[in-house]
Symmetry: C2
Subunit: 416 residues, 2 copies
């Protein structure tokens, strides 16, 4: 049977409505790469009883248990004590760690608060994992629990301490202890296709691959198709996943914009550079979000010139040369104005492509003729102008995100 894991995050702040555990996403990815499945994630507050309960439950059901948080110096930090109690072991104080703690505080020319000595405590029998990025060391424990072999790792909560510790000191130790097994993955991304239509088209294909787990995640105009299979042979498993990916790509054709997980912003960046082309934007209802997305890619100054946020009608005229009479005749949210914005901004900026968005993001400002969610997108390449009208569902944020997604996809299709 496959080796499985439970990830436990300790900390009352993650049981509030404001904060989530994100360490587990990173740890899941790393475990999967080793062929280890995560079967449970648990979040537990700072109380000793609760930590003991979580520890016992995990020890009874998972081969590998990765714990983050609760190793700090305060009285609330009880991960050490909770897991020691669940294992029936003592907590001991390590003289070397204690010395290092005193030294660290001496270097800062500050007396060490007594509580900080608790960070030198360890579960009896644990291997200490040094923490070059903080004061709380990690702990590696291999043990038998109710007749089963368990690996238990306690790590600090801050990601910048936990991740380097896991990379440097846990990854190889784990690899040496789990049977060789590979999880091959591929991610395809699809723009501007309804989720149900996408599934309808690809379900007959992926259902023929019962050995591959297919997960479809849909966002605003963005679908991710995650493929995942397990096998003993790295190459054969990857080949199998790639075969399914190829068949899905063939079916969805040019709706697939990315087959290695790249973002739509990155993809249009590749295309623009490949064609030595540049782009300029004129944004109304998205208020700069399209520019923000294009420029989120490092090095985008090679192809992104900038543009205007023509939120008011005056600015549409001032910066993108939209005739005031046209706005009067058709309204700022219209096919005509979108086209004029794209043409005007391309001309003004001397760009290869001009792209424009004008619409009603809501929640106010809608009418029977121009309802909330109605957006016009235009692209002009110096020869012709293409305008796409869409009616998006959802709140203001979602309409704005959809609109930028549509515009990015129009840039992509123009360059394909």
């Amino acid at each position: 049977m496959a080796v499985n894991a439970e990830i436990i995050a300790v900390g009352s702040e993650m049981l509030t409505p404001f904060r989530q555990d994100t360490n587990s996403l990173y740890l899941t990815e790393r475990l999967n790469q080793l062929g280890v499945e995560v079967v449970f994630k648990t979040i537990v507050g700072d109380g000793l009883e609760n930590i003991m309960s979580a520890a016992r439950t995990a020890l009874s059901r998972a081969d590998i248990i990765l714990v983050t948080g609760g190793l700090g110096p305060t009285e609330d930090d009880l991960t050490r004590e909770g897991f020691a109690a669940a294992l029936g072991r003592e907590v001991r104080r390590d003289a070397d760690i204690l010395t290092a703690l005193y030294k660290r505080f001496a270097e800062l020319r500050r007396p060490m608060p007594e509580n900080n000595a608790r960070q030198a405590d360890y579960v009896s029998g644990a291997t200490i994992l040094p923490n070059p990025n903080g004061t709380a060391p990690g702990q590696w424990i291999e043990t038998e629990y109710e007749g089963a072999t368990r690996i238990l790792v306690l790590m600090p909560g801050p990601p910048w301490e936990m991740k380097p510790m896991f990379e440097a000191q846990c990854l190889e130790r784990l690899r040496a202890r789990v049977p060789v097994s590979y999880i091959a993955t591929r991610t395809l991304k699809v723009a501007m296709m309804p989720e149900s239509q996408c599934d309808l088209r690809i379900a007959p294909i992926y259902k023929q691959y019962a050995d591959i787990e297919t997960t479809i995640l849909a966002g605003a105009g963005d679908i991710e198709i995650h493929l995942r299979a397990r096998g003993d042979n790295e190459e054969a498993t990857q080949e199998r996943v790639d075969k399914l990916a190829g068949e899905i790509e063939e079916e969805l054709d040019d709706a697939v914009y990315s087959s290695q997980g790249e973002s739509l912003e990155q993809i249009i960046g590749y295309y623009l550079q490949m064609r030595s082309a540049t782009v300029a934007v004129a944004e109304s209802c998205t208020g700069g979000l399209l520019g923000a997305r294009i420029s989120s890619v490092a090095g985008s100054s090679r192809y992104f010139l900038g543009g205007v946020i023509s939120y008011s009608n005056d600015l549409k005229t001032l910066f993108a040369d939209v005739p005031p009479l046209m706005i009067q005749a058709h309204g700022a949210v219209s096919r005509e104005v979108a086209a004029a914005m794209a043409e005007g901004i391309r001309e003004e900026c001397n760009a290869t492509l001009g792209v424009a968005i004008t619409g009603v993001a809501g929640p106010g400002g809608g009418s029977e003729e121009k309802p909330v969610g109605l957006v016009y997108h235009a692209i002009h390449d110096g020869i012709s102008t293409e305008v796409v009208e869409r009616k998006f569902l959802g709140d203001r944020d979602r309409v704005r995100l959809w609109a930028t997604q549509q515009a990015l996809d129009m840039i992509r299709r123009k360059l394909m």
Copy 2:
């Protein structure tokens, strides 16, 4: 003793590196309002054994157990079966739900796949919770488990089905069953102050309120101070929390931009409207992100005129009248160019305030003199120009976010 709760999310997709359970944030907020503490969150995959394990563990340690997901029609959807088994109860099929399912499919003029009948299954003894937004009804179960009283609620996973169901059918039922207890909360927000400095100043204050839980969460130039206390008397508890909030506000003075949880974007919106003022932006390294943030607020067209994304140097000159010789002499990332951008865009757009950002977002493009993370922010009000130089740490996304935060805070301070 206080009533406590465990939230369980069922679904293998939440054990992948790509997706997180977010339903629990909403449920936590609602439970807290009832005076119920969430002590555990568990995420479990679709396997029957694992769901049973999670169910037994939760039943043994939490008074209220809210479960989302795994109620769909597919063979993977085993929440019903898992919890029935943990409770030692049967799964039965409800004739009324079944009829409603057939009717729904008939209306869609499609035959109902046999699997869908599983959505008419319920744990024996459960009260059915209708789902007006989907096909899977919820289930409400009150039971004794190992001598303790337990409330167990099974709800569908999609938030747009779960939330209305919880609001309409669970909230009042729960309120009637938990002892009256209030959790009073307040959230203060602080802009552009280092977290350590903030804590240093307010720790002596909040430490005098041992009955109030104080949580400090820090983002890019944004600190949230969450205060939370429990009491029997709603008014007295809120007064106590408000008293601490008042003392913290007094200490941090004008660094606190919001005392009721409003966003910085909303706050500058209030101020601009109050003063009948308008704002225009000129953005370089942030590429439109400042405009996107300002225009994320509904109704922002009343004070946001728009502006330019002057990503290239030519556009700084074309749209914001920055003299090319100035860019040559000082570089695009300079105090002088930031000021000229703010002044130029204000003039061009005829706005009350002109705001500009120019910097090195990285990871490339840095030099010894102008390192990655160096950003100049300028604001001009027609009389004087203020320029703030900052060196931000972090990756491209973080530098850009910090820069927009600084600019928003400058708008706020100018209007205070």
